[in-house]
Symmetry: D2
Subunit: 334 residues, 4 copies
């Protein structure tokens, strides 16, 4: 059994993680912590949650667990990760704190110096499908963001193939759980329902440097990226429609072969047949990412979808845990 | 022209009122005020709002307007009403502050003594269809709550006819704008979407004494009331399904005749034909209240619907203004 | 392993059942059939479905399975059940065809004579929590309707206790999947979204005789039932708010003790603590039914919720299968 | 007064048009027709509709009206237009039948030869803001499609300025009313709610040739167009996010000046201030189109929104009628 602690268990990601871990045949919850809700049961915070006690973070028995999942806001994860590692636990961090390898980039986008830059070199960027070799030995895994997971899974093969010719445009749409559980004006039901809103379009969203860092793994000098996120009136799910100008010689058939070869053995990434497009209905409440391909006017149009709380967060975190601990990668996730 | 000031113009009710008044051929907006948003344009607070300036409440030229609409939380309306009346304006208060005639009942349900109890006797309870005689001379109108408007319009005829025999059960369902614009956990999109929740069921909701006060106008000792509100995953609209046990001798045909006679000349209340039920689609974005009647097993089942922001708030307020100022009652509302 | 065939696999209930059975450790899908979609994969009909082939009903190897689930419209289930039973399979029918024990009542409500009335006496009404003794030997199980499951689980204890004093009013609200997958005007997105509609209120819905038959198990001459269903703008979930006038001597505490005793060992029925009400968020995507109790003005107000596709259909069907085949009752359902 | 006939009054566009015309001070409805619903009142088809009679198309008094609005499926409009013109009425056609000037292009995209090609040269393409000079004398107006209106209003200034440098990508999202009122599988509430789906992406949608025809008015050989529509889980509203690579020398400030100059006197087109983006909340239930501009990485990102049933259909039709008949352009539309 893998003994598991979850810090920050009452957000949407934390709740999803608790449910996944409860179903996991080899996972055992040692503790759930919450600064604001300590003393309650999780079921008192979420009608859908199990009746497990929430303890204070400072009471968490870090030395009694094999792995700690951090479901905290950025910046808050850093000291929690240090503490858990010091106590001998392995750490899977679902915040942005260990995703960017360059502390200067972190400081630029997150508005403060990184408090533990020495850990950045060690942290494994846990895009599971591209990190399997590094995960078994990892002490600290940075679980990718929801938009980066979508975009990187969709863009990996075309970049690795060297087929992209110019500016990549990623027009992405996300459900509201991606904005977190703390109530804000823009997540009020009346503001979101019947509405649809772009936000931070261009290069203003914090996931831009994370996506670009990923693209550089495949191509040292990748094309420029324009990223336009939009808020969808749905609780969960991300769909990105991505436009990639192609180098001469690349058509849909050749690209499809590249994608199918890359992902044919992947349990959680599915390349759709010709003529089909990704939708949220393909992926919600699953750990799947589905990808559709269409080529028009010299441009590859990718449609890629995943559930932001599952493959975009808690599900991929469990997938990473499975690989880290030598379990079957799909365990608890089908 | 009627010169109009609106205090508290940035909530959902305030915004709806601004839009109605802007369309009103005889209405002219003199000022909009907002404590929290003063200095901005209304269009900067609401994408759907017009680009009108929001001033501080203390800068409002109360003596330059004919009528002031108060769209404030309860308790806050009392001093604002006193001030506007002192300045010579007539007042239409959309809060609960002047609806209950008995200051002791107000204190019990709103947790504090009423700060201007001398005004309670003067205030006209503005359920327009039942208040037409009092409105032309009124200085201060208490605009009814959204649930009370729905329930009282539906129950008036059966109570006036003396046909009700026992406990009345009002199972009511409201859209989220009824909960106000301030973001709270229970109005977060993710908590509301795909969900449906009873709240304050039984006799716990503050609209219970308001409804009962209304019922007593028609029957000094009315049947007991059970009131069960529910939160619907829609932005606007109220539908109440109301169960009234009937005295012997009352069947659907006889009751229908009573309802049709009472409401046949009402421009904003419509009794549906036999076999039809009220729905939100009948009423949203209109000042209408529709009422369906069915009798089964000795029980009258009323279905009544209205738009909580229009007939349940801002629309009825304009309807009251029309009557107060001698305008055609439907002006600006069709 | 239990070899399983599903007839009518492409409706919402069929799809939910396929997903549950796929996760079931002891379940093995032998075939899925569909008259209209035979030749396709289920994933071609539903993006969320697995890529399993759909065969024609007449090609279904009925003699090779242990149990056949029928997810067909009423009337269509009767010949399919006869055929499967003749082939030696056990049958769990999710339609209404074997729920009513009296063929005259069936004929009255479903507009035609029952084509296999001799099976009605044999069929077990599979409200699992009240049918455990009969299920292990059952050849034919009539899986209860979604509204009846909600109402009967909520009303069982108060009726068994003899505490109900008069007309029971069940104001029920259901998500749209309860109306089936065939597109109709009233299930068009634009008609349902932002709307809320009563339908067949009073005693007009086909679930009335089914609920009443259930009530008579507990009280030979039960109180009259008024049943008012409403269509909620959500994909799934039922919430019923049920009003039961109480005999003298019954208060909330005493009733709560009755409910807690009855359901304390039930894995899928949960009585909520005092002051809490059932919501769809408690139950969606689970096999749970949650029940809240409040007593006001001599009336018990029950709030009861379940997922119409799971505990109200496919989940209860699997629960019944588990009991029929001697498996742990919760297997595959947690 | 303008005497008005509406043919095909029961679809979503027809209903919206009826409501707009009813509010129009100079409009008078002479008849509403419907092939499938003749004999009913419109209120029996739509709870939100007025109780006006629906007659058979063949009974429509075409010679008694000044203008006929055609709200019919494509192909069906052609004979209806011929008949109305022959009877002496002016015609505003809301279908696609008279939008494409080239009958060969019509035949290619709509699968049949055009039945009245001689009218194509005469028909005025009624994008009001760009057609004002032609409308007063027009007998036949082709009301633009919803996607084309959005894209053309957004793209007009940048194309007229000659600032576009390469392939234009229009990622568009539409509410479900755009798919019409006839129930289909893909408009079933359960298929749409919580979902988001691309469809006909690339160059497969029939609005592609219509948009391109419009672009050629401003630039004889415009850049290639990639058009990717998506279905949003909302009843109404279109938002297009459009990416235009810029020629050297064009930055946001310079483009903003171009847009502001072009649209500053337009009552229904609003260029948003720097830093703001278009949303559905800006436009729903209004005749407005709002446009936001952002320049990033040499690319202009336009966000443009309108209500597909109002500015994208019935509202623009009334706007066109106003200009055709010499009325104030905003009459009945504010």
């Amino acid at each position: 059994m893998i003994n598991i602690g979850i810090i920050g268990a009452t957000g949407y990601t934390g709740l999803e993680l608790v449910r996944l871990v409860q179903r996991h045949p080899a996972g055992q919850i040692s503790f759930l912590s919450s600064r604001s809700q300590a003393g309650k049961l999780l079921s008192q915070v979420h009608p859908a949650g199990p009746p497990l006690p929430l303890i204070r973070p400072e009471d968490a028995p870090l030395d009694a667990v094999d792995v700690v999942f951090l479901c905290l806001p950025h910046a808050a994860s850093i000291p929690a990760a240090v503490q858990a590692l010091d106590a001998g636990a392995r750490v899977i961090d679902l915040s942005a704190d260990f995703r960017l390898r360059d502390p200067a980039v972190y400081a630029q986008w997150y508005g403060q110096a990184h408090a533990a830059p020495e850990l950045l070199a060690e942290a494994v960027y846990g895009l599971t499908e591209y990190a399997r070799d590094e995960l078994p030995a990892a002490r600290l895994v940075a679980n990718p963001g929801c938009y980066p997971t979508t975009n990187l899974l969709a863009l990996g093969p075309v970049l690795q193939a060297g087929a992209a010719a110019g500016t990549i445009i990623a027009d992405a749409k996300s459900g509201v759980s991606g904005a977190g559980r703390t109530p804000k004006q823009h997540t009020h039901f009346v503001e979101v329902a019947d509405n649809f809103s772009p936000y931070k379009i261009g290069r203003a969203h914090r996931h831009v440097p994370e996506i670009e860092q990923g693209l550089r793994r495949w191509q040292p000098d990748p094309p420029a990226l324009i990223f336009a996120p939009h808020l969808l009136p749905v609780p969960r799910g991300i769909l990105a429609t991505i436009y990639v100008p192609l180098r001469p010689g690349w058509d849909e058939e050749r690209l499809r072969a590249v994608y199918e070869q890359r992902y044919q053995d992947e349990p959680f990434v599915q390349v759709l047949p010709a003529g089909e497009v990704a939708t949220l209905a393909h992926v919600n409440h699953t750990n799947r990412c589905v990808i559709g391909l269409t080529v028009t006017a010299g441009t590859l149009i990718l449609t890629a979808a995943l559930d932001n709380l599952v493959k975009g967060a808690a599900g991929q975190a469990v997938q990473n845990m499975n690989v880290m601990f030598g379990r079957p990668e799909t365990e608890g996730l089908l």
